[in-house]
């Protein structure tokens, strides 16, 4: 069981991801964009961040960069959930501290498996 921050501008996707992960007993906090996620951090310290790639304002990779620059967030897993899985954008993600990439549409069992894997 872990505290997970789910960041996505699509409320449907956020709810889907939250639904799947809550079934595994995780505590989920949702954010509609990267800025919203960053403002929630003092009150909610996640053990994993699962973020959409393209959102209004900062994208998922920029969010990862911001998090990696903050004390306490240098080693937590950051997963990006995106329809864009081009090598260039993945490379950019790796360079910014993204732990892993999950393609949309996602398989719930696979998502649960990846989350378990990066948390241990």
């Amino acid at each position: 069981m872990a505290r997970i921050l789910v960041v996505d501008d699509s409320v449907t996707l956020r709810h889907m991801v939250a639904h799947v992960l809550r079934k595994d007993g995780h505590e989920i906090v949702e954010a509609a964009c990267a800025e919203d996620a960053l403002t929630q951090l003092p009150d909610f310290v996640p053990e994993l961040v699962l973020t959409d790639m393209y959102m209004p304002g900062l994208d998922g990779i920029c969010l990862a960069e911001h998090l990696r620059a903050m004390p306490g967030y240098r080693s937590i897993p950051i997963l990006v959930l995106s329809t864009d899985s081009s090598p260039d954008v993945k490379q950019r993600g790796r360079g910014s501290g993204v732990t892993g990439w999950i393609s949309k549409p996602f398989d719930p069992v696979m998502l649960q498996g990846i989350v378990q894997k990066v948390l241990h």
């Binding site: 699509s10 709810h15 959102m55």
Partner: protein
């Protein structure tokens, strides 16, 4: 009439025909732009003025993708409900039957064999409930997962809107080029596009197009820009 005069007359006639033909073309383009504007308005998307980034042949495939995704989502959802419904119906029927039987036994003299049979039925039912509940939960998850079409088709719809707006801009450009002198064109374009944020910051807006359907309905500049497009079409009689 000499040959030279005949040729000159023919050339004038040809030029006149071309001009008349181009007037007709421009007229039709104007009407097309007006139709497009009305369609965009009818869709409630007239404030989503953004630069087109895609090409026309792509539109059919994107629309087809939306149709397929929404159809699949509807099918997945309905099929899951069809599978879950009998499980729920059976649990309801069996629990109601057992409750009625227990009620009857409590209200009448108790026969030990009857109580034992009912206890066995109840035990079997309770043993069956977790499996039925899990099966129902699987179907509920399927319904949840079927909703992924919303995010994916939303992105495609966004791209289609870029396409429609892009076509509108190109037609407007053509209209401006056809009706105004070179000196006037610049100020007309500035009047239309700059107020609609379609000019200098196009690149920034391009980046934001990746963000999914975000329509700013409060931006005064956007509304103003679209009014300018309508004004131009009115001015030109379309």
């Amino acid at each position: 009439m000499t040959t030279a005069e005949l040729n000159a007359t023919a050339a004038k006639t040809a030029r006149f025909d071309t001009i008349a033909g181009s007037d007709e073309v421009v007229g039709r383009i104007g009407n097309l732009v007006r139709t497009l504007r009305e369609s965009v308005k009818a869709l409630g998307l007239d404030q989503a003025v953004e630069k087109a980034a895609e090409v026309i042949p792509d539109a059919r495939g994107r629309l087809s993708y939306i149709a397929t995704m929404t159809e699949e989502a509807a099918e997945r959802t309905l099929n899951a409900v069809d599978r879950a419904q009998p499980l729920q119906d059976e649990m309801e029927r069996r629990s109601k039957g057992l409750a009625d039987e227990w009620e009857r036994l409590f209200q009448s003299p108790v026969d030990e064999a009857e109580v034992q049979a009912l206890a066995l039925d109840t035990r079997a039912f309770l043993a069956d409930v977790p499996e039925k509940a899990q099966a129902t939960n699987r179907e509920l998850l399927e319904i949840v997962m079927a909703q992924d079409f919303q995010d994916l088709t939303g992105q495609v719809i966004k791209k289609l809107m870029e396409l429609i707006i892009g076509v509108e801009h190109q037609l407007l450009d053509l209209l401006v080029d056809s009706h105004y002198s070179e000196e006037e064109r610049e100020s007309i374009r500035r009047r239309i596009y700059e107020q609609a944020n379609m000019g200098a910051d196009a690149e920034i807006r391009d980046a934001s197009l990746m963000n999914g359907p975000q329509i700013d309905t409060t931006g005064d500049d956007v509304v103003s820009g679209q009014d300018q497009v309508d004004d131009l079409l009115d001015e030109l009689g379309f």
